[in-house]
């Protein structure tokens, strides 16, 4: 143990390492939160394989693919913004964050059209068309709405995080030697990406 640990004890000392550790622990809770949904998905898909297969035909793979690419790319720009910050290139870093936010909006707009199309087709919770379908399809669409809905909610929170970061950069609270909040927001954003990496094949690619 070195003397810096003693410094940790000093009041008001900054511990970036500790902040990241706390953020990771928080990400685990998010992971398990979605994990609960994945367990439900796994069980119902196991019980109703054919019906999940049928229901998945209703989803548009292209939209899903575009959203996957959007999230992967935004994940990259979020990671790059840290590099830019570390190099002291604050303007570039801000630009990259804005690009990330842009992709997030693209994702949400896509999602909005996707959901509206479903709802126009009469597929939404409690609708007559949906209730007429077999059990497995009702469950599939129930899970589809809940899981992509919760995911989109996380996208929104991620955007709020980044807007907050931009504000703090402007205020000078985040700079090239102090950027753990940017790192943590990026971590959160990558988690959103990670979840989607699984959601995409599980909902869109059952052919």
């Amino acid at each position: 143990m070195s003397s810096t640990d003693q410094a940790v004890l000093q009041h008001g000392h900054r511990d970036d390492y500790g902040s990241r550790m706390g953020m990771w622990l928080f990400l685990f809770t998010e992971l398990i939160l979605f994990g609960g949904l994945f367990i439900i998905y796994a069980v119902y898909r196991y019980m109703h394989q054919q019906e999940f297969h049928m229901a998945a035909q209703e989803l548009n793979t292209t939209i899903g693919l575009i959203n996957t690419i959007a999230l992967l790319t935004s994940s990259m720009t979020a990671a790059m913004s840290i590099t830019a910050m570390q190099k002291g290139n604050i303007r570039f870093s801000k630009g990259l964050i804005w690009i990330t936010i842009g992709f997030a909006f693209m994702f949400m707009v896509n999602k909005f059209f996707e959901w509206s199309a479903k709802i126009n087709h009469g597929i939404f919770p409690g609708s007559k068309d949906l209730l007429a379908k077999p059990d497995g399809e009702i469950l599939y669409f129930g899970l589809y709405y809940v899981m992509t809905g919760l995911h989109t909610f996380h996208v929104i929170i991620g955007v709020i995080f980044f807007l907050f970061i931009l504000r703090q950069i402007k205020q000078g609270k985040i700079h090239s030697t102090r950027y753990v909040r940017l790192e943590n927001s990026a971590l959160y954003w990558h988690l959103v990406d990670l979840i989607w990496i699984f959601l995409f094949p599980l909902f869109y690619l059952i052919h």
Binding site: L9, G18, M21, L25, F28, L31, P134, D135, L139
Partner: protein, 550 residues
């Protein structure tokens, strides 16, 4: 007898006089303070308020059951009362009782830190706790009344009943996240804020138990969060997830519910075991027996505890494989608990024991927790479980572990640490009497439930067959004795806290760090951290000779 005179003059104003914020006095200096000790105190009082409410509910439930048929309340009210009793006791008393109150107050001190690593997050957890709690209680005032589902919210009843289930679900959700944030804070604090000399195996066992608990809080609680959220969504929007009418599987709900709620039992009991491991060496003036075994058994309990959830579902009609596996692991998970009990007993062996109130509560803990454990073995046996499941035998077993165990652990912690927290001592004689009354009343309340449970008295029954009445009467009288004991105990603690004689730095002769600093502690706990090299349970100054057998 505790030294009641003040041996050293007070050098500095304590945390009770100095807050972390600009408010010098008044409520704002408390509810806006990020000092871990003040937050601990906030938790203490809010928790006690909720506890009082839940005890009153419990009292009413018992009173109703003194005779078959309607006695004082109708069936609907009864159902709502036992639901709220469960929700409040579990989410607002037992779970936060030790970690959030005494963990917050003493964890940083015990590892030689000035605060937890995220003080503001800590305060936010408390706000979530209060907010969630008020949600649960306030739902009683809404038209339709509070939830009547039982604290397990079993689907599809919880989706269909007309009472206000949603506020209760939201309350449990918020409280879950409050608990997660506390756990996250503790893990990071233990990793990052330990004093350089405080190596892992010099940590007090209470800290070890909190560490194990915190991991369960972080990794299991989200499951209940999402599950209850889904029930809420299902109620609100009619999304098909669990409701069998929409193709859902109610047994899957039970799986998810117990994936959290079984480990939650260990969130509740582990810190109490930590308290016991603290108190026994102090009052026996002996180093704890098998430090590493107790420390690792906490981690083992945390791990195995997450593998056994489905033993709550043996009558649900699971596959035989699942029945076999979950029953078997249930027996494995009992081993670490047994190890702890034997190590505690061995710590008393050749000690120098003083029967002060904290130790008395620990003795009750050991006996009652053992009874809870043994009846747990009965419930783990498959064929027997089929008969006992959902009877008052389970209710008694659960209360023996959670109240006879954790509840008494909380009482022990109060008698042990409150003098340190407030700098004043309660009346030891009254406390001893209160202990006797509480223990007698407690056992009289729950022991009859084992018998009538075996005879076939189902749980959550508003009315019952006449042959069960003698047991119910005995149980209800027990509840009166228990409540009298509780009143005496808490009044004594309250008076002691306000007006009792001032205590010294170390009234019990403990060796962990909190006993080596000023009473009550100063704002940032230490100017200089006391010497840690000796380890947490070093009583060599009293001891005769060393007997290290390997």
């Amino acid at each position: 007898m505790a030294k009641t005179a003040m041996p050293e003059e007070k050098v500095e104003p304590s945390y009770l006089e100095v807050s972390t914020n600009k408010h010098k006095k008044g409520i704002l200096s408390w509810i806006l303070s990020v000092d871990h000790k003040r937050i601990g105190i906030l938790y203490l009082f809010s928790m006690m308020a909720f506890f009082t409410v839940a005890v009153i509910f419990g009292f009413l439930i018992r009173l109703e059951l003194i005779a078959p048929g309607r006695t004082i309340i109708d069936a609907q009210t009864y159902n709502q009362l036992f639901t709220l009793h469960g929700i409040i006791m579990i989410f607002l008393f037992i779970i936060p009782g030790l970690p959030a109150v005494f963990g917050n107050f003493f964890l940083p001190i015990m590892i030689g830190a000035k605060d937890v690593i995220f003080p503001r997050l800590n305060l936010m957890s408390w706000y979530m706790f209060v907010f969630g709690g008020l949600f649960a209680v306030a739902s009683m005032l809404l038209p339709g009344g509070s939830a009547d589902t039982g604290w397990m919210f079993y689907v599809p009843y919880s989706v269909r009943t007309n009472t206000n289930v949603l506020p209760a679900l939201i309350a449990a959700f918020i409280l879950g996240f409050s608990s997660i944030l506390t756990g996250l804070n503790f893990i990071t604090t233990i990793h990052r804020m330990r004093h350089p000399d405080m190596s892992w195996f010099k940590m007090p066992l209470f800290v070890w138990s909190l560490y194990a608990t915190a991991w369960i809080q972080v990794l299991a609680t989200p499951i209940i969060g999402i599950t209850l959220a889904l029930v809420g969504i299902e109620r609100l929007l009619g999304v098909g997830i669990f409701d069998p009418a929409l193709g859902g599987d109610p047994v899957l709900y039970q799986h998810l519910f117990w994936i959290y709620s079984h480990p939650a039992v260990y969130i509740m009991i582990l810190p109490a075991m930590g308290v016991v491991s603290e108190i026994i060496p102090v009052f026996s003036r002996r180093s704890i027996f098998g430090y590493k075994f107790i420390a690792f058994s906490s981690l083992a309990i945390a791990f195995f505890g997450s593998l056994v959830w489905a033993h709550h579902m043996f009558t649900a009609g699971m596959s035989d494989t699942a029945q076999f596996v979950f029953s078997f692991i249930t027996y494995v998970v009992s081993i670490p608990s047994a190890i702890k009990v034997f190590n505690w007993l061995s710590t008393m062996y050749k000690g120098s024991i003083k029967l002060d109130p904290p130790f008395l509560y620990v003795m009750s803990f050991i006996v009652q927790f053992s009874i809870g454990g043994f009846t747990g073995l009965m419930l783990g046996a498959l064929s027997l479980n089929i008969h006992l499941q959902d009877t008052s035998f389970v209710v008694a077993h659960f209360h023996y572990v959670m109240f006879g165990g954790t509840g008494f652990g909380i009482f022990a912690a109060m008698h042990y640490w409150l003098p340190k927290m407030f700098g004043r001592m309660y009346n030891l004689k009254v406390a001893t009497w209160a202990w006797g009354i509480v223990t007698v009343g407690y056992n009289m309340l729950y022991m009859p439930m084992f018998i009538m449970g075996y005879l076939g008295m189902p749980r959550r029954y508003f009315d019952y067959l006449p042959q069960f009445q003698p047991y119910h009467v005995a149980s209800t009288i027990g509840s009166w004795i228990l409540i009298i004991g509780l009143i005496i105990m808490f009044t004594n603690l309250w008076i002691g806290m306000r007006k009792g004689p001032k205590t010294s730095m170390n009234p019990w002769g403990g060796e962990t760090l909190e006993w080596k600093i000023q009473t009550p502690p100063i704002l940032e706990n230490f100017h200089e951290v006391p010497d840690i090299h000796a380890g947490p349970y070093d009583y060599s100054k009293y001891e005769a000779k060393k007997e290290t057998t390997k």
